[in-house]
Subunit: 458 residues, 2 copies
């Protein structure tokens, strides 16, 4: 029960005064976190209050970058800079949906990224029902001509977020499948787990080259339930959609980078990442201001200790809309050897497991890290760590070592990509536990001089 | 612990088969509810699926009346009829809000009923902050000229719903106060308790004769928190509002009435009420399709027993927008003597208390009712029962007896008047307990031949 006691201490320690101390690798990460978790809150609160929604490629994201550059400079990081890139940009327009017959009423709907427009006149058609994306796949080609496909899967929350892969395909691939089968448009049950709340979940979809994009949107879960009940009554259901998103061409975006220099410049850096952009519906608190807060607070927490290896912070741009920042980072930094990558991009709920992807020689390091995380209620997993979206390209390019601090995902998909992703959803005690865990890991990595990449190097 | 055991039995009994029985006043209300609670669900599911939102005075409410008339006739009630009336009608238009400076971002907002329009050009002004409606009241006359007032109270959930009275005044009266002090517009923190969800709560407000209505709207609670954080930073905050509601003049509405006749026509009827209309944002499941479901299921449950006194069902029209149905009912039925009134209009969560307003002579009846409710986990309160909005006028006009089956209100104001008021929020086990409680009460009232009104009669 040591784990629970440690976590209870952590959760109740908010009221303790901050104290000055020289941080050493041996310092209790709980104590370090107590001193620095306010940085995680400050960043999350600041970005959501002073910037708000900050979609990749928009003016709001540019204000977010300015905010980030100013914050990181003021916080005393080195080499704070922006690495700009251009990216194609899609922006939301009007979005409305109505049942025309047999039971006229409005639905709560939101367009998926890369949806085409219905035009200002909207679009009206009969609904073709598919309980799963596999059922949509099985529909004969051409059978959807003139219809609106409706995919009504049954996503449930999972602690490790694995249901996003299993059900997210309805969003990632469903619109492309429906378009190829001749559908006029597609609506999906939101890729989400909030069965009670009437906020649809947005997110990107993609159409293959040569496939004409169709209007593609998500219904809130209560609305998807309602549409399913109407369909169960056996009469044809006619839906009207008005979705007027636009592609506004290539726009500026950028990554924000900062460093905590190590004393041995021959050692390749550790890169720790989050993403600065958010979807446009919420204020991007859990996705992913909190991630930027967590990594930055942890890096701040080890400022006072001796460090051999440089820690590089990557606040990536334009993740949600196509991981443009992560790809631009890998390209711009391809001649810079890196050692290991980590990312925080799964909310701010507590870390429950650590996974590694390290060379065999680094097993003692992994053992030390696991031992330091255990008192925070974090178990050691057996999965290979995979990093996050924004470090995916640099990991693949340089075959980097990876450590994943897996967060509890049970309520993440209640909020993900909805207007509900706001500061109100952040649990300060769990945010603090994240900072403590990251601090423990970084304090080990900062002084590890062994090899961290995986052989063979590409 | 008898209460908890009884309630657990009730909650777990859903899987039992229905069974035929001759219902008597002595029958266990739990057994009666098992047989008839499906009617409560059927009405709630039917109105939310086949009609959806049904604002008073609109075409959607007329569809709701047609649905109700057909349902009640099919269910075998007597004298099923509509009593029509006309009412002034306000309808929602566009509604948007943005912070212009210093931190540009969009807010989730909804107009309050009777708000005036900003016009299509919108309105932009500095925000004047008031933590409470009393602080707004204390502002000097004229001090709000050219400003948007913002009232940011701190409503919390209460089991008996009493916080609606305490904090609801910000909505009921705040706009009128702000208008008199020269404000251009007013935004209030939603009268609600869902601190995490980004759905604003609508509801009526009223302006005194001689006061020019101003645009009046509610921010979602996370948005109100965000605006408050911006204001705390000390710089003036400029807000832009676009609200284009309209008054569309006198429209048709109506009450739907049905009866379960008693054998002694000399005994004045019991009137049991709910309201058929809903606000336009949700589908009106908890407010108040479930109420209509509960009273109708309970009346159905006593159909098989001998009854001396007529039970009259009132599915009132246009409650939300000014209690037009309740007032029309009292006027249209002023020459019909009534005995007692009850209403279900506080969601579908469990009944936890019964309150009475009866003549002294009816004390044995109250004792019997309380004894029958105890096994359902319902305690006996000491408050004077007051009825509900739709029976308020007839109670006052005829000094009727009243019984209140008080529902648990702890999550009611999470959903009240928001898009989240959908079927997904109905808890079947709690809905069933309501039907059981109402059935127990009606089975006693239906054969009570004593006086139920309060002396002196008006």
């Amino acid at each position: 029960m040591k784990i629970h006691i440690a976590f209870a201490l952590l959760a109740s320690a908010a009221a303790l005064p901050a104290f000055a101390t020289t941080i050493t690798p041996e310092a209790d990460p709980v104590q370090i976190a107590l001193e620095h978790d306010k940085i995680a809150w400050e960043i999350t609160e600041g970005l959501t209050t002073e910037v708000g929604a900050r979609q990749g490629g928009t003016e709001a994201e540019a204000r977010g970058r300015a905010w980030a550059l100013a914050y990181l400079r003021k916080a005393g990081f080195a080499n704070v800079r922006e690495e700009a890139f251009d990216m194609p940009t899609w922006v939301r327009g009007e979005e409305r949906a109505w049942v025309v017959s047999p039971f006229p009423q409005k639905f709560a709907i939101t367009a998926l990224g890369n949806s085409s427009s219905t035009g200002d006149a909207g679009l009206e058609a009969e609904v073709a029902y598919f309980p799963t994306v596999d059922a949509l796949r099985a529909a004969p080609d051409g059978s959807l001509t003139g219809k609106i496909a409706f995919v009504n899967h049954n996503m449930q929350p999972t602690q490790d977020g694995s249901s996003y892969g299993a059900f997210g395909v309805a969003r990632f691939a469903g619109p492309n499948i429906a378009a190829k089968k001749g559908a006029l448009a597609i609506v999906i049950r939101s890729i989400g787990t909030d069965h009670n709340h009437r906020n649809p979940h947005t997110g990107n979809t993609n159409f293959e080259a040569g496939v004409n994009p169709i209007p593609a949107a998500a219904l809130s879960i209560p609305d998807a339930d309602n549409l399913a009940r109407m369909i169960q009554r056996g009469k044809p259901v006619t839906l009207r959609l008005l979705l007027t998103p636009q592609n506004i061409g290539m726009q500026k975006s950028g990554n924000v980078i900062a460093e905590l220099p190590g004393s041995n410049t021959a050692l390749p850096p550790i890169v720790i990442a989050c993403h600065l952009d958010s979807w446009d519906l919420g204020t991007g608190a859990i996705d992913d201001a909190a991630g930027c807060g967590i990594i930055t607070a942890a890096a701040s927490a080890i400022k006072g200790m001796k460090r051999k290896r440089t820690i590089r912070l990557l606040w990536a741009g334009a993740e949600e809309v196509g991981i443009w920042g992560g790809k631009a980072y890998a390209e711009a930094n391809k001649t810079v050897p890196h050692a290991l990558a980590m990312e925080s991009d799964f909310g701010a709920d507590r870390v429950w497991r650590v996974d590694f992807r390290l060379p065999e020689s680094a097993k003692p390091l992994a053992d030390r890290i696991a031992a330091r995380l255990a008192p925070l209620g974090i178990g050691r997993g057996k999965d290979a760590a995979s990093g996050g979206a924004d470090v995916g390209a640099i990991i693949a390019a340089q075959n980097l070592g990876v450590i994943d601090l897996q967060q509890d995902g049970r309520r993440y998909f209640d909020l993900h990509h909805t207007p509900d992703d706001t500061l109100s959803m952040i649990d300060k005690a769990q945010l603090r536990q994240n900072v403590a865990a990251w601090t423990a890991v970084l304090s080990e990595l900062a002084n590890y001089e062994g090899e961290l990449t995986i052989a063979p190097k590409p």
